[in-house]
Symmetry: C2
Subunit: 511 residues, 2 copies
Amino acid sequence: MTTATLPAAPDTAYGRLVARFARLGALDDAIGTLDWDAQTMLPSGAADGRSAQLATLRVLRHEQLTAPEVEDLLDAAEADAASAAGILDAWAAANLREMRRLYRHAAAVPAELVEAASRANSACERAWRGARADDAFADVVPTLTEVVVCQRAVAAAKAAVFGIDPYDALLDGFEPSLTMATVTPLFDDLAVALPPLLDRVLAVQAAAPAPLSLEGPFPVAAQRALGEALMGRAGFDFARGRLDVSLHPFCGGAADDVRLTTRYDEADFTSSLMGILHETGHALYEQGLPTAWRHQPVGQARGMAMHESQSLIIEMQAGRSREFLTFLAPHLTAAFGGSGPAWEPTNLCRLYHRVGRGLIRVDADEISYPAHIILRTRLERALIDGALAPADLPAAWRDGMAELLGVTPPDDRSGCLQDIHWYCGAFGYFPTYTLGALVAAQLFAAAERDLPALPDALGDGDFGPLVGWLNRGVHALGSRLPAPEMVEAVTGATLGTAAFKRHLTRRYLGE
Amino acid sequence: MTTATLPAAPDTAYGRLVARFARLGALDDAIGTLDWDAQTMLPSGAADGRSAQLATLRVLRHEQLTAPEVEDLLDAAEADAASAAGILDAWAAANLREMRRLYRHAAAVPAELVEAASRANSACERAWRGARADDAFADVVPTLTEVVVCQRAVAAAKAAVFGIDPYDALLDGFEPSLTMATVTPLFDDLAVALPPLLDRVLAVQAAAPAPLSLEGPFPVAAQRALGEALMGRAGFDFARGRLDVSLHPFCGGAADDVRLTTRYDEADFTSSLMGILHETGHALYEQGLPTAWRHQPVGQARGMAMHESQSLIIEMQAGRSREFLTFLAPHLTAAFGGSGPAWEPTNLCRLYHRVGRGLIRVDADEISYPAHIILRTRLERALIDGALAPADLPAAWRDGMAELLGVTPPDDRSGCLQDIHWYCGAFGYFPTYTLGALVAAQLFAAAERDLPALPDALGDGDFGPLVGWLNRGVHALGSRLPAPEMVEAVTGATLGTAAFKRHLTRRYLGE
């Protein structure tokens, strides 16, 4: 599947759409860069001003996308494409399909509802910060109720336009064409398979020596130098991106200006280092998108499940592999001046493969992580369907944690107040984390099949073969295909749980 | 003159304009922040993408400002204001006047000319970078000719709308309501008075001991800490701004997020330190603008001459005063561990008051600086009037330097290729530098009259009284008055050269 250059004649309906979406793409880049700045550079007193800037840019973006002439142009371009003249090649046809999809998502929701949802999200996010600090869930119930009302209305409006289930309509906003008809059997399978696996791994782990801890301090400058060196090894292009510091690590910025962040802890370098690899996986996806379709819808990364798969394949599949950790060990001792058995590859693997039943999603290992996601998916679906009232979240959360993971949070701060997503209106996002883990495992298994030398390369600290393979099969495709088709095209199999389960048993049980 | 809160009823024509201009203000903030980022943070390969973002935001801004309904709303609001109902107070009336001014500037130039000028400027700026590096003026003549053609057309279009001289129309874009009828007599006076003054100062300087040089290195961290300490003393609010590094120092960013930059040289801290004070003067103006009119035209800083006056009053008038340098000396020795006569106040004054006949504007002292500006003003006026062809610039430059400063550049790199302004289409900007110096001197003299304790305060390193006075007389006025009226209101005299000349003879001749 080669990447054609833009074939659009400027005087056609399609050509005019290309110009319009290029403008939207530049706006997205501006928004992404100002978002990055807000989390890395912004003076404390400048938050309101930045909010006003971003709100203005988003309103302009919405106006540009939903202007009446856009629908006319889409109709005309689709009629042109359907006619015998057939002016569009496959890439352009996919671009037109994505334009229509973006237009439908934006135009489905009335402007007043967009505005009301935005206000509710801002108010609730503020309330959530206070409620979480005070462990006072009741404080956030009124604004969360407002958020849920708005998101139910958004879901209903989109569902009516798309002719699908309301929750699926929200999911589609994060990973296009993925529906619960696909997700539910996968999650049901994991809900059955993972608890006994976790029991077995915990037993094995309990019988083995406990990992030795690494003694710091680990200077920030050394951590940063090592992190940048690993980014370079993974193929990150520093001419088109940066590494900085933020409270919550993320990968953002713009096309050809991909900015990722981390947070350093001088007492423990391990999570920042893997965090950098994680965000680098996201960044490589962005940097590997087809340049000929820059700023066009088909040139964008597919949805959040595919994006998460790229971060997890670099961090979890490759970065935490025994081969790569063995390569890494002497570099760690060189960077931090460590020595002794704690710095040996065997101990590094014990540290990086430690498993446990925790309460906090972002701290979870890869075996227990899906349980956190399955719980959240159930609950947010019930909130959108109206089967669960926001006020009843804490009890439902405790029950779900007990059932799925066998632990019960002692408070809401380590329960239903831990994640920001719902409180800023992001419903339908959570499933993409575990779908990303499934895709990552399936892609890595296919890469191992296609690249017999892959383990040796990782043992040499060489991400090149893997990233090249990902670039050809995923990055360079942009949004050419829906995620399920892309996974099938590159792995030869429907998206499933088999590769993920094989990965877990191999890594954690040596089977 | 107190600052009223926004009185606009949202359902009036004026109220709708207020909403429209608030959106423009947020766009300006976004553009300012992305411009800052381009000069401080941008990866090398991201320049094209950033150009596309900024071009898109500027096009959207232009569209928002020149939309047909804006003129209708201006007409209606002006009719309302003129009617017996008289709904606007003085601030709102000034705001409406500024709205009309911005609209006229934007709408006067046809969209195709805006586009052509923008393309010519970009091409010429690129060509200039190469031509300057190679000292090959001929290489830039074709694109510079195109720039001049466009700027002559812009000037003619605005002149036709405003009913003024074309060059004045360009000047008005940088400092509203200032015309060459005001500028010419001032510059003519300086052209007569400064050469003999420079001769006298050079003779005095030659007879005095040469300044002792300060021996480094001066670590960047120590320079930054000292710079930030001085910014704090001057009243810079770090909750609403930052200090960073860029190749060309500037003050930019957004309202309530004022970002200034410097460039450190470990062998010489003196120019960076005064550069920080200079940019801090710009920043204090921005941070001192009336918050009730944030994002409205009347709430913006007046033009570039007033802006330059604020940087020069902090740097040149206060920062390089004997009183402040005497205060500064022990702080310098503490910051850099210096000792001996080179670090005494007397020597610091000799260093910071050194005068010479140089070829380069940005390195010029305050006595010879106006000659650089007078030359550029003459030449750019001749270019806009059509009396000078771009190809003839080098010869005209050499002649002018010989006449005005008695020196002749050996090449065009240190001649007419040294400044970026013309090559990026900025005609009418240069006069504001020297007008700023005149305003700064006149303001400082008035401040000394109003604040008898000002010298003592500067001797204590206390900028507070001066900045408070500037805030009341200048910053808090925003764009309430045209610059000449503002100067007259706060100093009690028409803008002239007397205070500037008195300042120079006092500082450099002790008279």
